[in-house]
Every structure is written in structure tokens, then in C-alpha cells.
Amino acid sequence: MSKPVVATASLAGCFGCHMSILDIDERILDLIELVEFNKSPVDDIKTFTKQCDIGIIEGGCCNSENVHNLKDFRKNCNILISLGECAIMGGLPAMRNGIPIKECIEEAYLDGPTVADCNEKKILPNDDEIPMILDRVYPCHEIVKIDYFLPGCPPRADLIWNAVAALVTGGELALPYEVVKFD
């Protein structure tokens, strides 16, 4: 039997969850024995080349590209996991959710201390190639069906390891207090 295929992506996140994936240390060698990676920043494969068994999503959706990516993952992965606070709740990027989008754009491109003096022509990025900004940051499960949620900021490496190992081996997910406590 071929090895289960895993894909990962970071949407509106900080890559911290991916750092935590790498934080499984030398167990990454075991992981490679257990699974094969497809589209993922871990191996730098940019497009899906086959149907995957497990998709792991870091980050929520703040723009149209995130949405397309997420939908692409849902289509190409049998099981989809929201990994970390931003994928599950929107996280830090969602702090803008209480602020009208117009004010966010003004702050980012016109009035913010790092741009106020250098955007003399008051240019707002509007090229067709640039992703469109969403009115607020959405958690992944509001856009596609998510099968599992692994909390944390970032989730502990052991939690990620335990979850992936349980899915691949069909065992029960070990959830000792140490791997889900956040402070």
C-alpha cells in the first residue's frame, strides 16, 4: 500500500504553525517513513499533483487568494485539518474585524506611520493580479467543511505529531493535558 499523502498550506497566518510542524525534530524522519508530502511549503511543491489524504491548513482567510487556495485544498484532500488559532478563529489577523475595511486600507496605504510620507500620490493597490481584500478575516470552517481542529498558537509539535500519527495509523489521538494547555 502506498504511503498516505499530506499537503499543507499557510493562508493568513505567520508560518508559526509550520515552524511547529518542523518542531517535531528528529521525528520528521519517522514522518517521512509514514507519509509522503505533496503540495506544501515543507517541500516547496507549488501545485497538487495527486489527490491527497490529509490537508493541513494554517491561517484563516483575509483575501480572495486564501479563499481559492482553501477551496483547492478541500477539493484535493480527503481530510482537512484547521491547524492553530488563525485557521480556527481568525487569530491575530482577525483583530481588524471590528474596523471597517475602508479604514484598514487607509491605515495601511495612506495614513500609517510607515507610509504617510511616502505615498504622495495616494495610490491604493488595485492591480488585477493582486488578491482582493475580504471585508473581514474568516476562519476556515466558515468557507469549507473542516474535519478536525487542532488548537494552539502555535499548536504544540506533539499535538501535531499525535494527530497525524493517529490519522495515519488509525489509532486513538493521545491528548494529554501537556499538549493542549496554552499557558
Partner: protein, 597 residues
């Protein structure tokens, strides 16, 4: 600020724990709490500015912005909506020239929404500068606004008076009692002073034993045995103890305490004096919701009457060393203050945030001293138990619930009002009693209680089955139950103090998921998630609000599933509410580009 702050501060001896009273006085005088008052209060009371501001911002009836010379607070709870609030609100808005949530440009009229004001049997109702107006219609709203424009005093606009004490000189209110059924305990005969006479012949421990053996359980809803609570408090090491009467009745649909305090406050006051004797407490507080400010003068006169008879104060009824006095503490509009530890925080002049327990109030309550908090009706029952005996009391009701219960019944029935019944009445018997027909559902215990449908009308109203603090709301076949559930979900979102995440976020998730269902995008999985969320909230929140606020949703999913089924997307396991085109429309328009979907 025109108000003389010195005078107000002197009245409360510059005591920061009396901040609620101080703010109430300023709000009443000024129509707001001006920022210079905040600064002065901070300095004079020796607390930080933030401590003053956070108390102001917590309560619905305090405002740092002017609320209008005439501040109209129109109830927007479910039964008000059922009884025609929408038309009344529209008339107010049209005549006043401003919308709800705002004040007219000239500052004369302010229109504000408010949660249930305890008038469910005479809705739509509003409070204008503390004066209650009931059974409003669009025409009456127009008359009221005309009166305000003419500069009339609010009390002058009261054209008819209610029954009983409501029409007395000290109350002069149009509120009606609507006592539809008198029972053996609360609305029964009672000779003023008799319970006190009885208690001073007994040892304090014997009084507690009598209450314990009566099996009286707390009448506010939770049903904790009153005698046991008293025993815990009386055994606390600290000798400085307090007794508090919880008259906050904020549960939408409850108005029985209002009627008890209007018609038979002596029973309540006397029950407190008995409690003071039993616990060895020196000071009692009646925490009364701000909505009932119209009863203030009358209740104070009742207390004065007891003082004059030497039944309140020092050496009560000639008993050396039996010293106990009472004061009335007003709330300022916050449902969560009905929770005993939040009530205590509020009585200390702070935000009404429930405390983490243990320690329980009986060990560390008001001012960190042992405190027993009991419901209005519990105290009233204690007075009768003392006079007529525990055995007599136990003989009423059923095996799980002793005594009677005063129910406040409203909604779709011919005779809404207050009914004192023996515990153990079935829902169907209750419906027959109030003249309800064609009933679809009954909400027993208010939004934090249980919705039941026809298949459960044989269930009994008592502890162990359908417990209630008094609120019963009837819905006939014409009602859309989800509309009512939606109203209650808004209520809990507003009233959550925000301390526990599973309450603050949980109620928000309930709100958005229910919207999804109402908009025809819900799935069975969404309903399962709501039920699961209820389990989490019950386990993870610190107070009764967060532990029950999912009930309108969860109990209707369980007991009235047909209300949901027709709206669900049966086939699909997952339906998102997300709409890419809508979510990028604003940003694209602002930066000047065509959405490229």
C-alpha cells in the same frame, strides 16, 4: 455639571462602595454622568478613573452621553414584540423625530431599547424617567411625545392608576398587579410583626432548623435549600455578616417579585428581619432592580413603619442585642446582577461580574463578609413558615417541592398575570388555568429555562422536572418560535459580562449559527454543533448566565424540532454562509477595481 456633587457624596459619606447610588443620583439629576463628574468622583472617592468608568459602562441605565431630558426606555423583549411593540416603536420614532438608540437634536427626547422591565402581563411597556407606562399603543405613544414636547412633568402624563397599592399616594403608578390566583403562603393572611414575635422566642439555631425542616428551596430559580444556606452562613467564623434580598428579577417574563413587593412587602421585610436574627447579621440590603424605582418611596415608608414599631433597628422588639437594619440598593440595568455574586459586586459599587467560587458568598460575600443572598419570595415564605410552622408548609406542594410558587404568566393567554399555585401543577393544568388555547409551546423558567411542546404538557412545574423562578410564557400556534429564540439570543449576547470566553464567544457563535438556520442555510450538523456547544458552555462558564444561555436554542432543538426541520438544507452536510462577491465588494470599490471572481 450643575449637580452639587458634595451633597451627593455627603449623603453616602464619601464611600466608594456606594458608587452605584452616587452614579444613580448624578444620572437622575444630569441625564448623564458628565466627564468632569468622573474625574471628581475618582479623586474624591480615592479610586481610579477607570474604576468609575467601568462601573458606568457596565450598566444599561448609566450613560456618559446625555440620554435625553425625557429618556424613553421601551422594552424590546420577546413578549413585548408579540404584543405589538413594533408599531409603538415606530410611532415613538415618527413623533419624536429620532430613531431608537438616539436622542433628538434638541436633546429633549431620547429613545432607548431595554430588556424586559417586569411588565410582561401589560406589554408593550416603557419607562420614562423612572415612570412606567404600560399597555402602550401607537396612539398612546403619540400622546406621550406630545406631552414631552409640551414640557409636561412625566408623572402628569399618567392618566389612570393601577389596582391595589399601585394607586396609593406613595406609588401613583398605572402598573397593574393582575393577581389572578391567591395561594396559601404568599398572597394569604399575615399579621404584621407576628413572625418577628415568634422568632425572638426561639434560639437563632432553632429558627434555622425550622426553615430547614420546611424544605423551602430558593425561589429565584436555582432552588438551593434556604435553611442550608443560612446554616452555612451562620457557621462562618466572621461575626460581621450580611443578608441580601435579591429583588433584581431580570429573567425575561418574571414579574412576581414586583407584585409581592407592591402588595405584601411586610412579608419580605419580616422574613429578612427573621433572617437577620437567625444569622446574627447586623445589616440587610434589598437589591432592587432599577426598573422598579417607582416603588422606592413606598418601600422606604414600609421600612420606616417597621423602624417606628421598633421592629427594625436596635434591640428589635425589645430583644436586647438584636440589632438589624435594612437599606435599599438599586441596580442600574444588568441581568447578570441577578446572579448572587454579581449582585454583591454591584452592591459594592463595581461592575456586576460574577465572582469565581469558592469561596461562596456564605463564607466571603458582601465586603468579603459572610453573606446570604435570598430571593424576595423566599423571605416572604420564611415569615409564614415561622408563624404557621414547617409542617404546615411541607404539607403544601409535592414531595420534591414544598410550598407554593408564585408564577408570572404571560404571552398568548386570556388571563396573564400572577398566580400562586402549589408546586406540582402540570403544564396543561397551568394552560387551562390561564385560558390558553391552541398552544404551540410554553417556556418555563424564562429564557434560561426550558421550552416545551405539546408532547410535554403533562410535565409538572416543580423542582426535579420543570423548575422555574416564576417566569412562564405561552406561545400559540401562530408564533414563529425561532423569532422568539432569536430575541433571547440577542438578550444573552447583550447581557453576558464577557468574563468567560465560552460565554462571550459562545453566545456569538449561537447568534451566527441561528442566523444561518433562519436564513435557510442551516444543516443538521449545525444543530448538532449548537447542542454540543451548550454542553461546553454549561461545563466551562462560571455563572448561571453562561451555563444556561444556550437553553432557548438547545431546548427548542430537542423539544420543538419541527420549528427547525422545515428550514434545514436536508441533503447537504455542509453549507457555508460565505459569499466571496459580497465580501470583496467594499474593498474593490474603495481601491477602484472590478472584482475578479
Amino acid at each position: 455639571m450643575n449637580t452639587d456633587l458634595n451633597q451627593i457624596l455627603d449623603k453616602y459619606k464619601g464611600d466608594a462602595t456606594r458608587l452605584m447610588d452616587i452614579l444613580t443620583d448624578i444620572q437622575t439629576e444630569e441625564g448623564c454622568i458628565p466627564s468632569d463628574a468622573v474625574a471628581q468622583l475618582s479623586e474624591r472617592l480615592g479610586i481610579s478613573r477607570v474604576e468609575v468608568e467601568q462601573t458606568i459602562s457596565f450598566y444599561h441605565f448609566f450613560s456618559q452621553k446625555p440620554v435625553g431630558k425625557y429618556a424613553v426606555y421601551l422594552n424590546d423583549s420577546a413578549v413585548a414584540e408579540m404584543k405589538g411593540r413594533t408599531a409603538v416603536a415606530a410611532a415613538f420614532e415618527q413623533e419624536a423625530g429620532c430613531t431608537f438608540g438616539s436622542v433628538t437634536e434638541d436633546g429633549v427626547i431620547g429613545l432607548h431599547n431595554t430588556a424586559c422591565i417586569g411588565m410582561n402581563d401589560q406589554e408593550p411597556a416603557a419607562i420614562v424617567n423612572g415612570v412606567v407606562f404600560t399597555n402602550l399603543t401607537a396612539d398612546k405613544a403619540k400622546e406621550l411625545v406630545a406631552g414631552m414636547r409640551a414640557g409636561k412633568a412625566v408623572q402628569e402624563m399618567v392618566t389612570e392608576l393601577g389596582d391595589g397599592v399601585n394607586s396609593s399616594d406613595l406609588v401613583q403608578s398605572m402598573v397593574k398587579n393582575n393577581i389572578q390566583k391567591k395561594g396559601d403562603v404568599i398572597f394569604s393572611t399575615f399579621e404584621s410583626g407576628s413572625a418577628i414575635k415568634k422568632c425572638i422566642e426561639m434560639a437563632p439555631e432553632a429558627v434555622i432548623d425550622e426553615v430547614k425542616s420546611s424544605n423551602l428551596r430558593g425561589r429565584g430559580g436555582a432552588g438551593f435549600p434556604t435553611g442550608l444556606k443560612w446554616e452555612f452562613c451562620s457557621k462562618a467564623a466572621e461575626k460581621e455578616r450580611y443578608l441580601i434580598c435579591n429583588a433584581d428579577e431580570g429573567e425575561p417574563g418574571t414579574f412576581k417579585d414586583r407584585v409581592i413587593l407592591t402588595e405584601t412587602p411586610q412579608l419580605v421585610v419580616e422574613g429578612m428581619i427573621v433572617g437577620g436574627y437567625a444569622l446574627g447579621a447586623q445589616q440587610g440590603i434589598i437589591y432592587l432592580r432599577a426598573e422598579y424605582t417607582y416603588l422606592k418611596k413606598y418601600l422606604e415608608s414600609v421600612l420606616d413603619d417597621y423602624r417606628q414599631k421598633n421592629l427594625l433597628g436596635n434591640n428589635i422588639a425589645g430583644k436586647e442585642g438584636f440589632n438589624f437594619d435594612l437599606r435599599i440598593q438599586f441596580g442600574a440595568g444588568a441581568y447578570v446582577c441577578g446572579e448572587e455574586s454579581a449582585l454583591i459586586e454591584s452592591a459594592e459599587g463595581k461592575r456586576g461580574e460574577p465572582r469565581i467560587r469558592p469561596p461562596f458568598p456564605v463564607e466571603k460575600g458582601y465586603l468579603d463578609k459572610p453573606t446570604s443572598v435570598n430571593n424576595v419570595e423566599s423571605f416572604a415564605a420564611v415569615s409564614q413558615i415561622l408563624v404557621k410552622g414547617a409542617a404546615w408548609f411541607k404539607g403544601i406542594g409535592n414531595d420534591k417541592s414544598a410550598g407554593t410558587k408564585v408564577l408570572s404568566i404571560s404571552g398568548d393567554c386570556e388571563k396573564p398575570g400572577v398566580y400562586e399555585v402549589a408546586w406540582g401543577l402540570s403544564v396543561q393544568e397551568m394552560l387551562d388555568m390561564v385560558g390558553a388555547s391552541n398552544t404551540k409551546a410554553v417556556l418555563v423558567g424564562g429564557p434560561s429555562g426550558t421550552f416545551v411542546g405539546a408532547k410535554d404538557f403533562s410535565r409538572k412545574i416543580c423542582f426535579g422536572d420543570l423548575a422555574t423562578g416564576g417566569s412562564v410564557i405561552v406561545f400559540d400556534q401562530s408564533r414563529d418560535i425561532l423569532e422568539t429564540v432569536s430575541n433571547f439570543v440577542d438578550f444573552f449576547c447583550d447581557e453576558s459580562c464577557g468574563s468567560c470566553v465560552p460565554c462571550r464567544a459562545g453566545n456569538g457563535i449561537i447568534r451566527s449559527t441561528l442566523d444561518k438556520v433562519i436564513n435557510g442555510k442551516g444543516t443538521k450538523a449545525d444543530l448538532e454543533k449548537l447542542t454540543e456547544l451548550g454542553t461546553i458552555m454549561k461545563a466551562a462558564n462560571r455563572c448561571g448566565l453562561g451555563q444556561t444561555s444556550f437553553n432557548p436554542v438547545v431546548t427548542t432543538i430537542k423539544n420543538l424540532p419541527e420549528e427547525y426541520e422545515s428550514r434545514l438544507q436536508e441533503e447537504s452536510p455542509y453549507v457555508p454562509t460565505f459569499d466571496l462577491a459580497a465580501s470583496v465588494a467594499d474593498s474593490c470599490e474603495y481601491v477602484g477595481r472590478e472584482p475578479n471572481l
